[in-house]
């Protein structure tokens, strides 16, 4: 811990209260990011306190990483500096909730599970299945634009955020957007914060539009045999009248992982397509009929699962990072973003590349969305080269590859985001406009921002 950080203790205590600045070594260790341990933990309770902390941090030229419990901070380059962990766990209130308007404003530290429970009483939800599931925080979900397979029908946080209040590195609290579902007044600054991984400002309140919960859910599983059959089925489903809420293609390793610990546990031998539909019994019966017919045409039998047993499996699909870590503690996790139809092509190339390197794969492909979470289950000397070949394959197909989890020593040698494009100059200037002193998660984002 540097002298500057030790000296900051009393200054921060004056802002948030002495009991909410923590220097205890074991507590700090739980906030470790890529091997760096913060010098202090700060737990502000209000937007004004967050702003105060940021102003203080900027004045003293320290570096801060905003988070809740720092459990999902694996994504990003190694921070250049990390003096203070700004935990928003004590900011978990709800403001302005009007169920009939289908809108809500809440604080960033609220856990997603608690939030869903809160609005679920009124038959509402926020249709997201983000990494970390119910343990994820609202702020974390928004700051990383975290999505799962539900994106197919509902979109991303980017499509559900109506507005936010943001604490800036200069210690101000500003507002963008509002609390109504349609609003074009002023620049949509929220878009910049969504997916900015804590590098522009700290979200201190966020307003969402909510959605009615589906009456009933139905899950269908179609064994796909091969990637080619998988592609055929995916096409047929997307062209059918069935509007799946979510759809995912699991390779045999992923399918086995997903089923583990649920009533569906089984050793799976071929890729599976999992589909969830929502609606009344009549609607679900129609979906079953349509899927059955198109499965028959593709030569694949369709199995309808009990909703209760499917629920646990879907939670594991959303939480695929945890699944993959179970499979191998040394797993490297890649997120590949592709045009929706390129998934199977990428997977077939990935299988070849991985086989030649002797690395086992596990893949979760969000059908129709084009996002693949790919676990490289083995560590080999050629891992770096394999990742860069997979990145080239993704880029060839018009996509991008992000390394979401890897060994710290690998992180020293690779850029987890890949090379930025011709819009990077503007991004750099935007970062400077928001955070002139570079105090927010320095070095973690694209191009070292």
């Amino acid at each position: 811990m540097t002298a500057a950080v030790v000296a900051a203790h009393s200054g921060l205590a004056a802002i948030v209260g002495a009991e909410r600045v923590v220097a205890d070594e074991s507590a700090r260790a739980t906030f470790t990011v890529d091997g760096r341990v913060p010098g202090l933990l700060v737990f502000p309770q209000s937007a004004a306190q967050v702003a105060g902390v940021l102003r203080f941090v900027a004045e003293h030229e320290l570096a801060v990483i905003p988070c809740r419990n720092a459990t999902k901070l694996g994504v990003g380059n190694r921070p250049r500096r990390y003096d203070i962990a700004l935990s928003l766990k004590e900011m978990n209130r709800v403001w302005h909730y009007e169920p009939a308007d289908l809108t809500i404003s809440a604080e960033p530290g609220m856990k997603f599970g608690d939030f869903l429970h809160f609005v679920g009483r009124h038959g509402l939800w926020l249709p997201l299945d983000p990494a970390g599931g119910g343990r994820a925080s609202l702020g974390g979900i928004v700051a990383t634009n975290s999505t799962g397979p539900l994106r197919l029908s509902y979109g991303a946080p980017r499509d559900m955020v109506l507005g936010m209040r943001i604490a800036t590195s200069e210690g101000k609290v500003i507002k963008t957007g509002g609390r109504v579902v349609k609003n074009v007044a002023g620049y949509d600054m929220a878009k910049l914060l969504i997916g900015s991984y804590g590098t522009l400002g700290v979200i201190v309140e966020v307003s969402f539009k909510l959605f009615p919960l589906p009456v009933e859910l139905g899950t269908f599983v179609i064994p796909a045999g091969t990637l080619g059959i998988g592609r055929d089925i995916r096409r047929r489903i997307l062209e059918s009248p069935v509007n799946p809420m979510r759809m995912v293609l699991l390779d045999p390793v992923a399918a086995t992982l997903v089923r583990r610990g649920t009533p569906l546990a089984a050793e799976v031998k071929e890729p599976e397509i999992w589909i969830e539909c929502g609606g009344s019994e009549k609607v679900l019966n129609r979906c079953a009929r349509e899927l059955g017919e198109l499965g028959k045409a593709a030569g694949a039998p369709v199995q309808r699962l009990e909703a209760a047993s499917a629920e646990g499996a879907w939670a594991r699909i959303g939480d695929c990072h945890d699944c993959l870590c179970e499979a191998s503690p040394k797993v490297t996790i890649l997120k590949v973003a592709l045009p929706g139809a390129a998934g199977e092509e990428f997977l077939s190339r990935a299988n070849q590349e991985a086989a030649s390197e002797g690395v086992r794969l596990a893949s979760f492909t969000q059908g129709g969305v084009g996002v693949i979470h790919l676990g490289l289950l083995d560590e080999t000397a050629g891992l770096m080269a394999l990742i860069s070949r997979l990145r080239s394959a993704a880029e060839d197909l018009g996509g991008a590859l992000i390394v979401e989890r890897c060994a710290p020593e690998l992180k020293e040698r690779l850029d987890v985001w890949g090379a930025p494009g011709d819009d990077f100059g503007v991004m750099r200037k935007l970062k400077a406009a928001w955070d002139p002193k570079g105090i927010l998660s320095p070095g973690r984002f694209v191009g070292g921002l």
Partner: protein, 524 residues
Amino acid sequence: MSLDHSLTLPETLRYTREAALPREDWGSNSRVAPRIQFLQRGRLHEPDRMKSNALIRDLGRIVGSDAVLWRPEDLMLYEYDALSSITQPQAVVFPTSTKQVVGVIKVASQAKLPVVARGAGTGLSGGAVVAEGGIVVGTSRMNKILEIDLENRRARVQPGVVNLDLSLAVSDDGYYFAPDPSSQKACTIGGNVAENAAGPHTLAYGVTTNHVLGLEVVLPDGEVIHTGAKCWDRPGYDLTGFIVGSEGTLGIVTEIIVRLSRKPEWVETLLAVYNSVLDATRTVAAITARGITPAALEMMDGFTLRAVEEATHAGYPMDSAAVLLIEVEGLKEAVEENADQTEAVCRANHAREVRRAKSAEERDLLWRGRKNAFGALGRISPSYYVQDGVIPRTRLPEMLEFIEQVGKTHQLQIGNIFHAGDGNLHPLLMFDARDKDQSERVVKAAKAILSKCVEMGGSITGEHGVGIEKRDLMPLIFSEDDLEMMGRLKTVFNPRGDLNPGKLLPAGRLCGELRVQVSQGGEV
């Protein structure tokens, strides 16, 4: 350009009446009614003839001399959009490529002239007119659909492609482009991007920003950047999301990657007829409370629907106080259930009748009535001023009572057309622009309604944009710090303010000053 244009005019509103142009069947909001004209301090450039000739020649070298307008009589049309007219541009150019746009922007920069991009000019907030002179970049020749990729549900288009033309291009394959402004037969996708346009069906499917994935943008220094991609989640800040809705103040968009949507299997269109406008508004929140998300949920009051019926003969009941036009879409079974439930909610809220369109023709007719509503009102009033406030949908009944009161106080007839499901209000204030007193009352009434929207936790614009019209009302909803950050971010893209100056952000740096101006009844 006549001499008196160069006079410094006081910063006040002036109203003029113009001859109404022929009504076109696309139901433009724009070409029918005479409109309010804004005049403000005339910072009009009057370049000497030589300089002007050189400019026209330079522009002609880039885009071809047949693609430059410079005679005052040609420029006259480009003084206008659907809201306002301020001053003529120095020239209008029609580039066909990104390269030509870069060339034009460089010539403009050398001549120290602002650049304003313009699609079809159907905008309602003054976004596509010059506020301070300059060069208008018309996108009408950049109207190519560059790529249609159905398996990925994407299209790549130039900004001048007409909204409906894209949907028509993919219609036979069962796809469409979801944002559907009422002007969709004329407005361009570039304009939709600039304003983050919406339409009746955005209730279920979201507004333009939810359907745009990537952009090619020319920055004011001529640099060309590419934001986003065909895929989601390209690493980096979401510049696409920030530029959509920035009203042409950050860059000139020269290519757009959009998402295409699959047409639903089944559609039911319901017309619920009410004897009380309050019952109609109460139905709106009751429908969403039942867990139904209609694709569209529109409201017209009796005054408006009578005007519409006379113009369109869509079959709206002439003696009712209000109608709701409701559409549910999706899987046949789901649509049937939702339509039945919706009908029950309407009846529970005292709808006297609920009709369902029996054919595609009947459905089209009902929608034609709605989409031509502004035009229909233009037939019965010499002028009207349309507002675009937003409120939480549960406050609709209260708001309607308020609007009625405002009408009485200011002795104005106000028609109401709402995207009710979104809480997006379009009160139409009828007046005669030749009557100065009426005109002043209209501005006061509009401001009262917008202030009420803000008081209810809403917004001053849901889909029409800030433009010139509402830039000085921005302090009603944003603090000085909010606006300062917006100004700073604008500077990142547009450091010298060359692109679409005088739009979106309040004119002065001191918001205190602006509030005074607003309270004095400035621009609305």
